[in-house]
Amino acid sequence: MSRFSTVCMVVVSFALAIESAACGVASEATDAADRFLQLVDRPTVLDEAESRLIGQCMNQAGLAYPQVPVPHDDRQVTGLLKGPAPLRAEVVREHGYPDKWMNSAQVPEKGPVETYADSLPADAKEHFYYVLRGEGGNDVRISLPGDFEVAASSSGCVGRARRQLYGSVDNYLTVFYLPELVQRRTSAADEDPDVRVAYVAFAHCMSTKGYRTATPADAVALAKTRYPDGRREHADDKEKTLALADAECQTAVRLYERRAAAVDRVARRWLDDNKAAVSESLQAALAKANAVMKR
């Protein structure tokens, strides 16, 4: 298969995905939400491919590029967005809180790419970043709904990889950042009247079990004080008891469900208010993908 046809195949696939997300967004809010989910839960393979393409491009320029596993948001989709999973009493009774909440002291000084670049002589380091990012700075700059602006470079190995995979850097920015823009707005869920009532009920429930914790985050913070160095291999009995109380109180007041519902309301309201602008952004991305196909 020629490189051109392969690129076209990828771009056609991307264009189909974007077209699915764009067409009809303005007509039905439920369709907008359904299509928006396609962006929220986009496949990890895209990030893996981007990283590999960057690495191959750097290698072809005679430079090393440390390959590391791509960051992956493994949280479950709840409603319209990815979010934390509910605490399960049967799990925390045995294991306490999830490890990733409890082990916060692993602090690598810097990432492998940055470590490698910093190991180079000054001239070589400058060349490394030049080949990686090009000379134009973050020259692709797009505005998304809500006074929100994102940017990235179109040149260098990073810009090249994104153009190859997404048709354009504009497309990449739209696909990555639209879900983040909605996620950003959902912090308002904690101010939802029903959620505030649920937090009060949670705090009361915890107090009946002997804990002064206003929120689940407070409970986790309290558990962390049991491990001053920030590392714990196994939950001790006191952590398990606290985590069980947390899970039982969340279940008793339906905190997780009420908060998830509030997050969903915020996200759907935002999508409904901005469906024209979202549609416009996605259609612009589609137009650019189509332009690439015609070259």
Partner: protein, 122 residues
Amino acid sequence: MKTQIFSLLAASVAASVSTLAGGAPAMAASDGVQALSCQSGYFCAYINVNYNGQLLKSQAGRGSQVQVGGGTSSGSNNTANLWVGVNEIPSYPDDDIFKWAPYTEANLGSAQNDKINYFNVK
């Protein structure tokens, strides 16, 4: 069809990466590299939109949790890592506010720009 679209895309991408990597961009070192908002290899957070008023400049690696004072209104990520802004008060554990993709910058605008208390590096 809709649910299968990204699966199709994923399969296409997986099959295509090696073919796409055709060669390094034609470029040569020059003195004209345009300055980024934040030094290459670092993540920077700013109190103002448009990348003014630096609150944080960090190279922290994956697994780090980096506290930030003040309200982050914009950020520039010149690292290979994902920088995840988190709000800790009042909140639910493991609830992200906003993620910065590698090698991008984002201006969050004026709304709710004081919510990020710390960053998780992923």
